[in-house]
């Protein structure tokens, strides 16, 4: 590992990952990658220690105690591996907020200091130097999120080639200082279930004056497949939740015109999932459960077609 002697440790990192009916063997493989990345990052002085915490939204827990014990025993570089059974499908935003509350509680109870949280999808596998590279930009107190580059299919959203600045970061794998999470009160779980919670968090971070940085040298493997023609083929639930989230984020960021246009389009769609998403938006509206609009001057929110920033290429 080419490490620099000038790296500043970002302290103790908690890795938060929300499970939903994942294959245990695949999770074990993921932990092996994280363990090695933590080992190297600690050795390089980039981090002090790493704790891995799984929140489990599955109908049946992904691990039993025996499996968790085996994972702990084989993960010599991790301070601890914990499993929190949510006993309900909390989705992404609420799941991570629950884990953040768990982190705060452990800080109070055990005196554990948590300096940063790595939000990570459970099927993401880190390159050996990924934690070092993710930690590097946090030397600047102005950086609020650092996002990893995904393999085998890189996210097409644009970023500044010189600075790494980007308009929003996916939380498939992103490192966030704990103080930023506290300051922003975590994710907006009242509005978002599965998608756009990361777009929203990124935009709120930028509204608060933080930089959102894409770190191409921090590579992670996120097991995406390509449909014929090389296109991304969303599942039906992905279609539903992304459509719902698209209307909500447009509404939240003071673009009711876009929310209305999407709603109209989804309402007339041949796809039942899209019509259901439009109906859910109607129900929220009637129940006054839509978010309060923010960013009225559109300082951070960007809507380019179906995307939330400029994309370098179609996918």
């Amino acid at each position: 590992m080419n490490t620099t002697s000038t790296m500043t440790s970002i302290g103790h990192v908690r890795v938060h990952s929300v499970l939903y009916a994942n294959e245990p063997d695949r999770i074990v493989q993921t932990v092996a990658h994280l363990n090695r990345a933590a080992d190297l990052a600690i050795a390089a002085g980039a981090l002090a220690s790493v704790t891995l915490v799984y929140g489990d939204s599955s109908p049946e827990p992904v691990f039993d105690d025996q499996q968790l014990s085996e994972i702990k025993n084989s993960s010599y570089a991790l301070r601890d591996v914990q499993h929190v059974d949510f006993q309900a499908n909390l989705g992404s935003a609420k799941g991570h907020n629950t884990l953040l509350a768990h982190a705060e509680a452990s800080m109070t109870a055990d005196g554990e200091s948590v300096d940063a949280v790595l939000i990570m999808n459970p099927d993401v596998m880190l390159a050996p130097d990924a934690l070092i590279e993710l930690a590097r930009p946090l030397a600047s107190k102005h950086v609020g999120l650092v996002e990893a580059r995904q393999l085998p299919v890189e996210h097409p959203k644009e970023y500044n080639r010189l600075t790494g600045d980007t308009e929003w970061a996916t939380t498939a794998c992103a490192l966030i200082p704990m103080k930023v999470l506290r300051e922003l009160n975590g994710f907006d779980s009242d509005t978002f279930f599965l998608y756009c919670d990361d777009v929203d968090f990124s935009w709120r971070a930028r509204l608060a004056g933080y930089r959102v940085v894409y770190q191409p040298s921090a590579a992670v493997f996120h097991d995406k497949r390509l449909a014929p023609g090389g296109k991304w083929a969303p599942t039906s639930s992905e279609q539903y939740f992304s459509a719902e989230a698209a209307m909500l984020i447009a509404y939240k960021y003071s673009r009711p015109d876009i929310a209305e246009r999407l709603h109209s389009f989804y309402s007339k769609s041949d796809s039942g999932h899209l019509r259901r998403a439009a109906a859910e938006f109607d129900r929220r509206k009637e129940a006054h459960r839509l978010p309060d609009p923010i960013d009225p001057k559109h300082r951070v929110a960007v809507f380019k077609g179906d995307f939330y920033t400029k994309h370098r290429f179609p996918l």
Partner: protein
């Protein structure tokens, strides 16, 4: 066991044996003895005495043969090589206090039940003398034997390659393994080459007759395997040394092999993308693979960098990665070294700048289970990338284009004859094609070496295609690649070489290829004034058959005969008959056949044919 009395000639087994000994004995040593085991009539006795200056002692079970030697003034002893304890005692007694300068065992081992025990005994005798041993055995893999066996013929004869009294057959590799196991190491060989052996019968057997397609096909494959296709007898001189056991027999090695060996070529210039490659592999859903990273002409720093990247992977992955350095050759050399080092059932090339999806290995494995032994081909996308280094990170890369669906999703042999349309990352080759058939990457090619290897393997093994996308071929903007390193002229030259190579030998084609070829020739004929030929096959070629019938029906309607029949049709119309233009485009084959038949059987047509015959125009 028969006893043979073959004369000595410089160009037969005896001559080659004496020649090898002459070159490999210690010429400065004192007078010594030569032991000839299974000496028969001892026709080497005189040349050995004369050329080596040794005292010749013959050993055989046949008294008549050894009496000939004794009559010629040579010492002989009777031994039975099926009773090695007694034989060894007799030989040791014959040696006495003499120094053994050399030994020979010519055309004997194939006649004994336990040849390994015999040469082990000779190894014990040689221990005190460090003397060479010349061995000759017949080659049971001579192409005349092998080609006939492939078609069910195995012809024992009184003498020769398939002598009825042979108890053991030897191959090049089997002999080498046996000798090494006994502690004999080959120093030099001078095998007997015979193009048409005593097994070359019947002479016009399609597999044997040298101008048949079948023989040409088999011969070029056999010659690719090794140089022993025409070897009649292996004649080699060995020196005693350590006993070397082959670690695993082929069957055991096969069972222990991983499914896939991944060959990753690197020059250590793209450490960041090499790290990506290893991450893509360690994240595979199927971990039944090994990785051979072939470091080509690595500088000391590059080697350290590559070793570091490998060392950085997690423990389980690291155990499956080997770095193999190659210091010579062009970019093709590492592929041969990599395939040579591979242990997997299949071998795939994943260069240090490509990307594979999480089910790359798994998809190959599933495809191999359904198509064992075939070349495996999965669908692939191309994507353009460029180097990037942000202020807060190290050197890396970024995608700058979407997925380019530029390669066919399935393999088409005929299209691939024109140019390559398959990136190497989308292929997995059966290792046996390399290891057992001797198909090698052509190191004279500086580009498109993968296309050449792929096609030469495909014509033997066939190709199984999977339309699932499992890999991404990276094209580079502003970075070094094979496209920037080699000139257009170089690419063109290599292309021509591959075309010529493909055309130089008979090949195998898949079932259905003849229909495809017929279409191509018909198309060419149609566009070059040739005839259209007979109607296509209604079963294998339904669509074309129906179109041909439509054309035929159309031409009937516009023929002279049709026009001559006009008056009859007019009368028929006046009588209420209708001749509407048929809906040819909506008719199936049977309907078209019936329509044509009806036209030809109709009164106007028969009338017109009659008129034409009267005018002598039919």
């Amino acid at each position: 066991m028969n006893t043979y009395d073959n004369p000595f000639h410089d160009d037969n087994v005896y001559g080659h044996a004496v020649g090898l000994l002459t070159k490999n004995i210690d010429a400065t040593a004192q007078t010594s003895i030569h032991l000839d085991l299974g000496c028969s009539f001892g026709r080497m006795a005189e040349p050995i005495t004369a050329r080596l200056g040794s005292k010749y002692i013959g050993f055989d079970i046949d008294d008549e043969a050894t009496s000939s030697l004794r009559e010629r003034g040579f010492e002989t002893h009777r031994i039975d090589l099926n009773d090695l304890t007694a034989a060894e005692a007799i030989i040791r007694s014959a040696i006495g206090t003499n120094r053994v300068g050399s030994m020979s065992i010519i055309d004997v081992l194939e006649h004994v039940a336990y040849p390994l025990a015999v040469i082990e005994m000779l190894r014990r005798l040689a221990a005190a003398h460090s003397c060479p041993l010349v061995v000759s055995v017949p080659n049971i893999t001579h192409r005349d034997v092998g080609f006939k066996l492939a078609f069910g013929k195995w012809d024992y004869t009184d003498t020769g390659l398939l002598d009825r009294t042979h108890l053991r057959g030897f191959t090049h590799y089997g002999l080498k393994a046996m000798m090494r196991a006994a502690g004999w190491h080959l120093v030099e060989s001078d095998d007997i080459q015979i193009v048409n052996s005593d097994q070359h019968f019947p002479k016009l057997h399609p597999a044997l007759a040298t101008t048949t397609l079948l023989h040409e096909f088999l011969a070029q494959l056999r010659d690719g395997v090794d140089a022993t296709a025409k070897t009649n007898q292996f004649v080699g001189v060995y020196l005693p040394g350590p006993r070397v056991q082959t670690s695993l027999d082929d069957a055991t090695a096969d069972n222990k092999a991983p499914f896939l060996s991944v060959i990753t070529r690197t020059q250590g210039r793209r450490i960041d993308t090499l790290r990506d490659v290893l991450l893509c592999l360690s994240a595979q859903t199927c971990q039944d693979f090994e990785v051979c990273v072939i470091g080509h002409k690595l500088s000391p720093q590059a080697q350290l960098d590559v070793e570091r990247v490998i060392e950085d992977t997690h423990e389980e992955m690291r155990a499956r990665v080997r770095l193999i350095r190659v210091e010579d050759g062009n970019r093709t050399r590492p592929l041969n070294v990599g395939f040579e080092s591979a242990r997997g059932h299949y071998v795939a090339i994943l260069d240090d700048d490509d990307i594979v999806l999480g089910h790359w290995v798994e998809s190959f494995k599933v495809l191999a289970e359904k198509n064992p032994g075939r070349v495996l081909r999965a669908a692939n996308m191309a994507q353009t990338w460029e180097p990037v280094t942000t202020a807060l990170g190290k050197q890396s890369v970024r995608a700058v284009s979407g997925m380019d669906d530029c390669y066919p999703h399935t393999f088409d042999f005929f299209q691939h004859l024109i140019e390559n349309a398959t990136p190497p990352v989308s292929l997995a080759f059966p290792r046996a094609a390399f290891a057992s058939m001797g198909i090698r990457f052509d190191e004279s090619l500086t580009t498109t070496e993968d296309w050449d290897f792929f096609m030469r393997t495909a014509v033997i093994c066939g190709v199984a295609s999977l339309t699932e996308i499992t890999s991404i071929y990276r094209k580079w903007l502003g970075a070094e690649s094979s496209f920037t390193l080699h000139s257009q002229e170089e690419w063109r030259t290599n292309h021509l070489v591959i075309w010529r190579k493909l055309d130089s030998a008979p090949i195998l084609l898949e079932s259905g290829a003849i229909t495809r070829l017929r279409h191509l020739v018909e198309y060419w004929n149609r566009h070059n004034g040739g005839g259209t030929g007979p109607l296509p096959d209604p079963y294998n070629d339904q669509h074309r058959y129906e179109n041909a019938l439509r054309e035929q029906a159309h031409l009937l309607r516009h023929s002279v005969t049709w026009k001559i029949g006009a008056p009859v049709r007019l009368i028929s119309r006046l009588l209420g008959r209708r001749y509407p233009y048929p809906m040819l485009w909506a008719m199936n084959g049977r309907q078209l056949e019936q329509h044509i038949e009806a036209v030809r059987a109709s009164l106007p047509w028969r009338f017109a044919e009659h008129i034409k015959s009267l005018l002598g125009k039919s």
